[in-house]
Amino acid sequence: MQEIMAILPASVRNIMTVLPSTVLEVLEEIRLRQNQPLEIRYGQQTSYVTPAGQITSIARQGWVFTQEHVVKLLNQVSQHSLYALEEELKRGYITVVGGHRIGIAGKVVLERGEVKGIRDVTSFNIRIAREKKGVAQKVMPYLFEKGTLRNTLVISPPMCGKTTLLRDIARQISYGNEWSSSRKVGIVDERSELAGCLQGVPQRDVGPRTDVLDACPKAIGMMMLIRSMSPDVLIVDEIGRPEDGDAVWEAIHAGVAVVCSAHGSDVEEVARRPMLGKLIRHGAFSRYIVLSRSRGVGTIQAIYDSSLNPVKKEQPA
């Protein structure tokens, strides 16, 4: 929270700090739009905030974010260096200290039909990142067989905690646990979500033996890491493109364990997608973890082995 407070313009900060702590603790998003009232999302609710720091559902009572504040916020976020954010402005979001993400919208500038950046930024969505350490605790016993880590595919619909789970798996493997000693972990973090890097430095705890290729396309990144960092385990979020499949295949046959994730609600569904189906049929993965929201975010629905039978727990070595 402090990191977020530090980048907010003083006027917004003053309002935010007087919010009740019950709200601040579950705060998920701060939404700022030029000439519109300050909006926050916390728990499952959304509301506006008055100039006195009170929560209200009436828009016109809300404190209004003006253009002057836009400039100040942008200055703070970019550290007075917009030129350094070209890539970020192209992608539409900026990662700040602490791994929090700020989504932006405004007037898009095109160059030869491609997005070159966003010039007049008018909307900000500050998403507060909360790490959930230990969510992988429940799945760790299933990922090992006779002390070796198995190639794993995490299958989950969006917003079910797949990235959080992957991050925790990376951390546990990197630190070492009951089933294995610590290992070298390589993360290809195309969307800067797993490690939340800022200037290349992971802002989340991904473990002491973890190397992160930030903002790198997955397929190229996996090959780069194998050649340059000799990881024991490769962790990749959301594989889907044909070249990703080839890279996973290469990695597995290069003696590297791969833990990756894909969108989907069960193995059968994922198997119908061309690239993933091929990998599954060829037995690239020997563990499938299926997530859902049935009992809250991050519910582990099932864990299967390569022939889709439920897996037994591995006893600590």
Partner: protein, 172 residues
């Protein structure tokens, strides 16, 4: 005897004054050159290194001639400490404080001031354009400063000494 000592003192101090003035003429091109180098480094940091402005100021400030470098270090310090300050304001403030300590003139300050208005607030290409423009301006001023140096440096030195000599002659 006392008169002789007095005459000597007049001569020495007059030459010193002349020497001081001539020094500013000699210093200005040197500092202008340093400022030019600093802006070119800043261009590299911004356009190729994508270094945040505050760190770019520190890097540049440490590497160029101290008299000019301190200006950037001061701006970096202001930028870090006073969070409400924009990049423009902090550079302007630093210039106001630091300028009297340099041999640089108003014209140079104006070039830097107009650069400060855009520094950090646009994309790379635009930053590069503005930095190059400032460098071109400063180059012109540098040539001018060198011409002035050739003209006046020696002149003020001799003028000081000769002026002293005149006073001494009048005294006797």
């Amino acid at each position: 005897m006392i008169k002789l000592i007095g005459a000597l003192m007049v001569l020495v101090s007059a030459s010193m004054v002349g020497w001081q003035i001539s020094r500013t003429y000699a210093k200005r091109p040197v500092q202008l050159r340093a400022l030019l180098v600093a802006l070119q480094m800043l261009e590299t940091e911004i356009v190729y290194g994508l270094t945040p402005l505050q760190r770019a100021f520190v890097k540049v400030g440490q590497r160029v001639n101290k008299e000019v470098g301190n200006l950037f270090l001061l701006a970096a310090e202001l930028l870090e400490q006073e969070r409400a300050l924009s990049a423009e304001e902090s550079l302007q403030k630093a210039m106001k404080r630091h300028w009297p300590q340099t041999a640089l003139r108003k014209q140079e300050q104006e070039v830097l001031a107009s650069l400060s208005q855009v520094l950090g607030s646009s994309d790379r290409e635009d930053q590069q354009k503005h930095l190059r423009l400032a460098v071109t301006h400063l180059r012109g001023l540098e040539e001018e400063a060198r011409a002035e140096q050739d003209k006046y440096e020696k002149m003020y030195k001799s003028l000081g000494f000769l002026g002293g000599l005149l006073v001494v002659i009048l005294m006797f």
